[in-house]
Amino acid sequence: MEDCFHCGDACNNGVVIHNEKAFCCNGCKTVYDILHDNNLDYYYELEQSPGITPNAINGKFDYLNNDIIIKELLNFNEGDTQIVSFLIPVIHCSSCIWILENLNKLNPNILTSQVDFPKKTVRISYSITEISLKDVVVLLSKLGYEPYISLNDIKKDAKTKDRSLTYKLGVAGFAFGNIMFLSFPEYFEVNEFWLNQFKHIFRWLMLVFSLPVVFYSAQDYFISAYKSLQSKFLNIDVPIALGVSVLFIRSVMEVVLNLGTGFFDSLSGLVFFLLLGKFFQQKTYNYLSFERDYKSYFPIAVTKLDSKNLIDEFQTKVYDLVPDDCILIRNEELIPVDGILKKGSAFIDYSFVTGEAKLVEKIIGDEIFAGGKHSGTPIVILVTKSVKQSYLTQLWNNEIFNASTQNIFQSLTDKISQRFTKSLLVIAFVSGLIWLFIDMSKSLNVFTAVLIVACPCALALAAPFTLGNLLRILGMNKLYLKKAEVIEQLAGVDTIVFDKTGTLTTNALHTISYKGELFSEEENNQLKNVLRASSHPLSRALFHHIKSEVSFDITNYSEDIGKGISANVNNETIKIGRFDFVASESKSNIKSESSLLQTTVHISINEKYKGYYAFKNEYRKGFDRLLNELSKDYKLIVLSGDNSGETTYLTKTLPADVELVFNQNPNDKLEFVKALQNKNKKVLMIGDGLNDAGALAQSNVGLSISENINVFSPACDGILDASMFINIYEFLQVSKKGVKIIKYAFFFSLFYNLIGLCFAITGHLEPVVAAILMPLSSISIVFFTTISTYLIGRKITQNS
């Protein structure tokens, strides 16, 4: 079997030989031709088989002729030039970058194009005198780089990148370096002649440099400390803000009153290190979005039909649809609103919604819910509800989707900081009071020195560096978390709720099993020939399942939409389809038995009932072992939208204390999780489809399983690649170990604080001591956490 020169897939459906190269399909060959004819063969030299098979795009982008829609998509539009950014999920290698940045060689009207690889976007500017936005999109699609345009793209302009942390870090680093430079002379020689003459200018310069650090770089700490005091809760930013302000005020006093050098070096160093920790923790997976709702799934526009003659087509924005409109849905298009099927026969795949890749057949008059994907010949739908009122989208009216109601998580650092701050203040006051009796002039000095030296820089760095590192390690193991704090929350979980379809079962694989009277070889052969004629998805699946030759001619073939197919082969009548369509005699026991199963196809030959094929989603490999492992430490619950058909199988395979709950709609799932939380459970929800979106948002940690991380998953705290599903137990162990590391690091930093306090309380805190102690403690904490997280990380990569 040869592999395709363009896309690298095995050529299963015949090889197309062209130019002495093998291609798996005509689509790949066409792309090759386009590139080859335009002298862009370099594409294939950068990487082996870098290409993507292009999808059929007939009429798919017609809505891009509509000026209102175009306007909403463009980033820039003036004179002859338009600039647009697209998300292209298939971008995956350097060849992709190269070809997308050389689009102007394919069409000279494209002026420039620039790829942002981590975000998987391309920014294209083109001249509208010759080509339109649609031409650009069609060109991209023809090359296999089909842009993903969804309802979410409409409000694009509001998103400007927040770079303030980079600026703050830059300012702090700049000031830190310069202040270190200026304070160096005074570290060792205090009474040297020249130094004595010029030290004032040095000190005043340092003061000037420290101003932007305190008032710009450190402002977040003051704001956060203020907020936390308001809510009567001492988070870690309170002692930091206190330390920074005491450092600053005392240093300014020293310089102004000509008492000493001040602690400007420690001050700017402290802020610099803290911001560095924040920056490190801020790893984001740009191309993944954790905030998705239905908007990212839904198209921008649909084809609306004139409601009288059902022929005239025009493109409308999805938001503009109102009840009683008629819309046309083509093959592979998503249905954006609830409606009633008016024309054609629909096969709807609700896998976006339920996580289950199963085609549901609908006939005229049936109700169709938004979120399904249609496959087959075009259908016409009569809209009954607008987008925002649809059954699926209503879930987002639940208050849990308002960010403001999100439960506040109290992190380990904040918990420690409660006690830390209190004891810090006590020590400061007590030692200040004691010095009042020993040496009144030094009392204020000692008081401020305690607050300065105990500023919890290392303490505040422990969590960001540990969690930031773990975030990267987990990312390498294909668990992508939204924020570093999720790891801490993950470690605190005691209950795990699994969705069944799509989570415990796979989306991709079907197991097909046969029950009934066995077929002879000839009958098997006849069956396969009849199936070949049908384009019904179930027929296609069965056709591939049955191993036999394709040889006979069939006659009298007929397909009854929504019921089944029948045909004559060698004078025998074969019927394939629903039970009622196939069986003439009543076999109620078979009927009731098969109705419990998900999807069945019944077969009769010469009006004699033979048996049925059952289609079932396959459970993920090793899921029983995983659940057995997990049940030792966690309470497990399986939550499913399906009927209880598989109870017997599940109770047999799973440990006895796993709770099974069936027939849950999306809202039930959310309420179920909420009820658990009211019982003080910390819930980890693992789900996949949009129907889990509510439960994922409500739970303490919501992980979404995805077969392909470039395909969209609902709003959640983390996305787990399906291939790593069986490693969930290890991931949970890692999160627990991470929390342990943070605790050790806390002891470490408290130890440093104690040393510092000894200096401070005895009244010996020289600026140089503070300037050494602060970076030393911070750097050793960073060192410790990095090494230990690395060791943990190595373990999981070895295990998996």
């Binding site: 004819d37 050389n102 942002d116 600026y167 830059g170 700049f174």
Partner: protein
């Protein structure tokens, strides 16, 4: 020793110049995508490459994006 005033001024000015350059580069988005440029710089000067195999194909084939819609 008053030369120290001049030296300090120069050192601060140089530092400020670099600082301004940093701010400017952040503003221009240089740090938004730190990966793609590293790949881009490795591309060959692709115009030279395709000349050699060109003899094999008919040169008249040009992709048309306008006529298909």
């Amino acid at each position: 020793m008053t030369i120290i005033y001049l030296l300090l001024t120069i050192s601060v000015l140089v530092a400020l110049a670099f600082f301004a350059a940093f701010i400017l580069s952040v503003k221009n988005g240089q740090y938004d995508d730190v990966y793609t440029p590293s790949v881009r710089m490795l591309f060959e000067d692709e115009l030279v490459k395709p000349k050699a195999p060109k003899t094999k194909t008919e040169p008249t084939n040009k992709i048309k994006t306008n006529n298909h819609n």
